[in-house]
Amino acid sequence: MSELPYKIVIGLEVHVQLATQSKLFCRCSTQFGAPPNTQTCPVCSGMPGALPVLNREAYRMAVRAALALNCEIPEFTKWDRKQYYYPDLPKGYQISQFDLPMSQHGHLAISDPKNRFEPKRVGIIRAHLEEDAGKSMHDEQAGTADSRIDLNRCGTPLLEIVSEPEMYSPEEAKAYLTELKLLLTYLEVSDCNMQEGSLRVDANVNLHIPDPEAADGPPIATPIVEVKNMNSFRAVERALHYEADRQWEVWQESHQRLGDVPKQTRGWDENAEITRGQRSKEESSDYRYFPDPDLVPVVMSAKETAEIRNQLGELPAALRKRLEETYGIKPYDSDVLVNQGRALVDYYIELAEQCGDGKLASNWVQQDVLRLLNEREISIDDYAVRPSAFAELLAKVQDGKLDTSRGREVLAEMIEAGLSVADAMEKLGIAEVDDSELVELCQSLIAANPKIVADIQAGNLKAAGALIGQAKKQNPNVNPSRVRELCIELSSEAS
């Protein structure tokens, strides 16, 4: 990346729907997917005379999220009206927060297991609570026909999280989003489901280009472009790559700097894989914010904030560190486990504790448990083998009574037939092979394979592998590593 002639500078604005039962200012349900206009009331449909009342739980969730993002929570916050006309905004204003948001000055630490960038902190300018708008639907085929308005979503609590423009590659932006989503799901304040619109991302992007006339001076900043309509983290990454290339081309032609042109808004077209300019309304920036006279401020003492902070629980970054320190696994592995969510981590910890080998437990969870969860699209709670039974299985592997592949067969039997380790082994006809029996078997193999024995004697220990294969053919229950051990031992004796 360092060979690029510019630095891309990215700030992200993320809107997250909070997982309350009812809306931010009325008691209509927030359930996704209801038939249009069946979850509205006088308040959220903007009827004359209706008044908002703040949802306590929404506020608590927002504070939890803000604290987890290391934000300061001022003692005083208030509600403002952001005014603009749009048919999915029935009051003609959105209740939001302007100059005194509920939180500010935080940060989120990100890192990359693939080491494409150095671990860093991305600053959070502010996080504030506001109400969502409804949805307008337009059938483009129909041309000039009317748009249809559904107000079900209108009034759903949204947390808007605004980062500093401190991400310098699409990969950093993606890591920020991934970590943010993980954090919010750990806090159980949002399901962060992008398909259902619970998490929405807008990006502010521009380029910093070294000034050829002042090599040591500040770089030249190009005009900031706001990119919208990115419906997955992958889309964000691709849109940002595209936008950087596009802006570099525009720069070479126009040499426009920040401030030369009004801020542009572009939409990501997923199919064409390009961003397209969106028409901006010249007066749209005058939102005429003022304090909402229908609502009263929230005052929260430092003590109350501290109480909420104490109840945050263990957050992903701390959890990763604990897994690495307690169970001796690598950052890459702790990242994989923690990214799966708290329930899987709890499963892993129980397993690691019971089998006493964190690395072995990590390998099995990552390779076997996660694969099945993904294949079947189930959660860890629905996984048939509980950690205690799993640990019993791993104990057999640990003392060489089962090799990995036999262990997998046993695991499969435990899952499918709901059997205990012992019953599964019995069903598979796995009996533990007596060592004297095994010595006998190996002696017969050595007698029958002088060439291999000669190879082993010559120092080619890998040749023993062929003998293991033959041993397994004769008795599938043999422990391969013990066979290997015996064969090498007996070969050297044979000389």
Binding site: P48, Y85, Y93, L295
Partner: protein
Amino acid sequence: MSLLKKSAVELVSLLRDGELTSADLTRAYLNQIEEHEGTIQAFLHVDREAALQQAEDLDRRRAAGENMGPLGGLPVAVKDLLCTRGVTTTCASRMLENFRPPYDATVIARLKAAGAVLIGRTNMDEFAMGGSCENSAFQTTKNPWDPERIPGGSSGGAAACVAAAMAPLSVGSDTGGSIRQPAALCGVTGLKPTYGRVSRYGLVAFASSLDQIGPLAATAEDVALLLEVLAGHDPLDSTSIDAPVPRYIETVRQPLEGLRVGLVTDHLAEQLDPDVEAAVREAVRVYESLGANVEEVSLPHSRYGIATYYVIAPSEASSNLARYDGAHYGYRTDESALQAELAAERAAAQSEQEEARLDTPLVRMYRKTRSEGFGAEVKRRIMLGTYALSSGYYDAYYLKALKVRRLIVEDYRAAFQKADVLLGPVTPSPAMPLGHFKDDPLGMYLTDLFTVGANLAGIAGISLPCGQSREGLPIGLHLQAPPLEEERLLRAAHMFQTATDWHRRRPDFVASED
């Protein structure tokens, strides 16, 4: 007919004792409305059948021994900005000409539960903006004392119907004087409660930080009866005060010992009609004769009240009225005419840039809907408020006004250290002739000078009749009290009404009937 000269308190006791049925009483008021409404035009809507139906239901319930509630079958008129389920609620605007709310305002629910018969919807200035009822989109209510004069506003219909004995009790709303000023001009008693004392849920908003619902009636006692029904905490209104409601009707007759009355000198120094000034000074003597101690007090920022109010109220109004855009309810402009208009503009456009500047169909729909649906005064205030909140002007106007508002509140706090109630005129003059302030909006605004302070400070205020002008027009006395001191105001007003009979005077056509 003499029934209609009785006070609400007397009528409730007759109803309770079974000496009078709600149906008979309601019929008497309906007949009075029928007879005089052609001249007065106090009501936008009277549903005779529905009112009688409610009255008969209440009579049946009484016959079955059920508790009727404190109003027990008494008719109540309601200003046409209180949402009532299934009943057209117009705010005297074309915009809401056919709007039927799917819900009841908290106050409406309380009235129903208290056994009120909702007899009709009273006229007002459109969206409560104005002081004469001339801004109603539908009709101009006349002052019952002189049909050539304004009844005041915005609760003009609410005050006129009480003065004309068309209803014993009436509910209005007061944002800058809209209960007290028409009460003064029509010679009735009207109270603006403390901000937050009465729920605003279901009150179509004009300026949310100033609006309060309140009662109008002939006497302080009757006002107490209705206030007790209206007041109380409402979890649906975040600005509602969670404090117990005193039994106003139990205490209203108790005189206040050692009452300290503060005469607001700033309000007498203004250009005041001599008859009004004389009546107010006479009221001072009445209180002195009742044993009160009268002292002069000053509200030094009172002179900035109008300027402050006419920034804050229009700013909030410009926002509150944004929802009337033709998208979800209410009036929408004719869409085929709109499309034709835009097509013609596109055809006439000289260049692509010019064409690009044209409104989109949606924006034009908003603009035409609002321009056709709102009257001139509403548009004027929306423009004023939009300007005051727009970028570059916010600090100079809106923020400045909020700071002066605090100074006004502090003035009142200081004054209430010296006085239990503040006394002064309600209006600079008695009722003006119709059309007097046509094309002079600022002149009209300035008549709110004495009343806006109570709204800006959120305190309680009452207007009660205290005299008549040379032409025989009523003059109102303004008493103000600290937050939640409605009981004190009502007792002070009742004291005055025990010593005077201005509140018993009626326009000739009412007085001569029997």
